[in-house]
């Protein structure tokens, strides 16, 4: 299966001198299309920094990010229009659903479709809400949705442009165990049925069985903790990991 994203030698350092913190220490990572990957680790270990680097939000100072085989960031410099790449090929899901407060559930998805130049935004939004079983709440504003509904809408929005990579930062932190499990299963379903690569930062150990690969971060270094791909015969061919610093 093709590589959705490849990180090579990512290094990011905050501060200087004695206050220097190495957030990413020569991180190498490859995530294949259709793989569901968990990123574990204590607070401050560099998980969010890695998400920001892979999400083309805050590039690492050194190293390279290749997207679908094409180098897009190298040594902190953008080699292409990153915003355009984000809106067309990346989907984000956050700890809090982070829906746009003044748009309804359906409009939150429609606007993502617009950014991705999808012409049938409204129909697509409704299909995605159907898919995630929240269609009945399409006209509700975020504040009128429950935490689980918000997270479903956020996932629907992340899927709006058929992204090749979905990055989720602690998406179940605000949910109870039942809803947490449901969200994790959704990621698996999305990866399985739509072929998107999914990277989930999580502290939630209750649903780790849904992931193909478990990575751990500590002090900016990444290591493969567990390969469960074999336990998921129904998934698309999963992931590969080259090395960690």
């Amino acid at each position: 299966m093709a590589d959705a994203v490849v990180a090579v030698g990512l290094t990011k350092i905050y501060g200087s001198g004695s206050a220097q913190v190495v957030a990413l220490d020569n991180v190498n990572l490859t995530i294949s299309a259709g793989a569901v990957v968990a990123l574990l680790g204590p607070s401050g270990s560099g998980k969010s920094t890695l998400i920001k680097a892979l999400g083309l939000i805050s590039p690492a100072e050194r190293g390279e990010v290749l997207f679908q085989g094409r180098s897009v960031v190298k040594d902190g410099s953008a080699l292409t229009d990153l915003a355009r790449l984000r809106r067309r090929h990346l989907g984000f899901v956050f700890q809090k659903a982070n829906l746009i407060s003044f748009l309804t559930a359906r409009e939150n998805i429609e606007i993502a479709c617009q950014f991705g130049d999808k012409t049938d935004g409204r129909k697509r939004a409704r299909d995605l809400l159907d898919y995630l079983q929240v269609r009945h709440r399409e006209d509700a504003y975020p504040e009128q949705l429950s935490g689980g509904e918000q997270q479903r809408v956020a996932i629907a929005r992340a899927l709006a442009n058929e992204p090749s990579l979905i990055l989720a930062d602690e998406p179940t932190a605000a949910l109870d165990s039942v809803r947490s499990r449901a969200v994790m299963d959704l990621f698996r379903k999305v990866a399985h049925e739509r072929g998107a690569a999914v990277l989930v930062v999580t502290h939630d150990h209750r649903a780790l069985d849904v992931f193909d690969l478990l990575y751990e971060m500590e002090d900016g270094r990444l290591r493969l903790a567990k390969d469960q791909a074999a336990a998921h015969p129904t998934t698309l061919p999963a992931t590969g990991e080259r090395a960690s610093g």
Partner: protein
């Protein structure tokens, strides 16, 4: 999908409240500009209404509106005799204050030279010009008195025969027009006791003179209320208004300028004297206040738009993270600013239409103000958006990850 409209729709009451505040602010700014324009207009409207080419006034004075000007009535005939003069009219001006129905009535009385001047140059909105030399008066509509009503002045009854609009002095007092004779009657009106005492003083003075002693019957004449000593001069005029043959204007001016007892000003000069003298301080004060108020309004509107943007920082960060094109984000801020400006100005306009006519001083929305105010409002809100746009461009999409 228009993000600006969706955001406004979601927070409609708050947005309308903000627009209402901006509207009130703009209405104050426009009112101040209108008051300034009104002050300038009021200062010159009287001179323009008289349709004179030249104003002849007492020598070394600046005309009847700036200071007291006393001209001998013979100046009217002298001016009329100057080659090139088409018409010379007497003109008197005085401020009076009386009580009427328990209210203070302040009036500027302008005497017109009956029968040559019956008020034909006045912009009447109702009624007619003066048709007789005594007992008729034309007043400004701001007095709230209709045609047919009467005014009691100096013991005489004056019937209102016509109404003007916006005939006000630079101080904002309503102006009334009547014949010069009537204006003198009002000016020199004395209570009976004062008249009696004056006659007694004349008799006393006569008794001390050789003439009085030699002609005892003069004393009887002095006591007769119908008699007026021939040596006493007629009441003075404030000015003589001159209309000239346009080709001979310079010649007329040069001729009259050489008279030792008068000064002559063109219509434009008379207006300049008014603006630079009578209302200069008030004009400067209100002009400066208007400028400060305008700057304050710009600062407040800038902060309002900036705060509107700040409130959306998180939503904007999410939109950025989603890869929203910059023009969409800039459009969100700009369109809301324009909407704010448009609603604010419309409200200010409505407030102006409803309330400005009831202000004690005239608020004149000139064509320039009417044209410039909405354009300036839109320019101001656009410029005010720069701060908000700068904020939008600097928002880190990573903010969205922080929940």
């Amino acid at each position: 999908m228009n993000l600006a409209v969706r955001d406004v729709g979601r927070h409609l009451a708050r947005f309308l409240g903000t627009a209402g505040g901006v509207g009130l602010l703009l209405s104050v700014v426009i009112a101040m500009q209108g008051i300034y324009a009104g002050m300038v207009d009021d200062a010159t409207i009287l001179t323009r209404a008289m349709s004179a080419d030249f104003w002849i006034v007492q020598r070394d004075t600046r005309g009847p509106f700036a200071e007291a000007s006393r001209l001998d009535p013979s100046i009217e005939q002298r001016a009329a005799a100057v080659p090139g003069v088409r018409r010379a009219r007497p003109y008197t001006y005085q401020l009076i204050q009386r009580q009427r129905d328990g209210d203070v009535l302040r009036l500027a009385l302008i005497g017109l030279g009956w029968p040559g001047d019956t008020g034909e140059s006045l912009p009447l909105v109702k009624g007619r010009r003066l048709a007789q030399p005594h007992g008729e008066i034309i007043v400004d509509a701001s007095l709230m008195l209709d045609v047919g009503k009467t005014l009691e002045l100096a013991g005489e009854t004056y019937t209102i025969v016509g109404l003007t609009k916006n005939a006000l002095t630079s101080g904002g007092e309503s102006v009334a027009f009547l014949s010069v004779t009537d204006s003198h009657l009002i000016s020199y009106d004395q209570p009976p006791e004062a008249t009696l005492l004056e006659r007694e003083r004349v008799v006393e003075r006569l008794r001390k003179t050789d003439l009085g002693r030699a002609q005892p019957n003069l004393e009887d004449l002095a006591k007769d209320p119908r008699w007026r000593p021939p040596a006493l001069s007629s009441p003075p005029l404030a000015a003589v208004l001159v209309e000239v043959d346009p080709q001979r204007a310079m010649e007329v001016r040069a001729t009259i300028k050489h008279w030792g007892d008068v000064a002559i000003y063109s219509q434009a000069e008379e207006e300049t004297l008014l603006l630079e003298g009578v209302v200069q301080r008030a004009r400067m004060q209100i002009g400066l206040f208007t400028a400060i108020l305008t700057l304050t309004a710009i600062a407040i509107i800038t902060m309002v738009i900036y705060n509107l943007t700040l409130e959306k920082t998180h939503d904007l960060a999410i939109l950025k993270l989603m890869g929203a094109p910059r023009w969409r984000l800039a459009g969100l801020v700009l369109q809301q600013a324009w909407l704010l400006g448009a609603i604010g100005y419309t409200l200010a306009y409505a407030i102006g239409q409803l309330f400005f006519p009831h202000f004690p001083r005239r608020v004149v929305i000139t064509d320039t103000i009417a044209l410039v105010a909405p354009i300036a409002t839109m320019i101001v809100v656009t410029l005010a958006s720069i701060l908000g746009l700068n904020h939008v461009m600097r928002i880190d999409p990573a903010l969205a990850l922080e929940g």
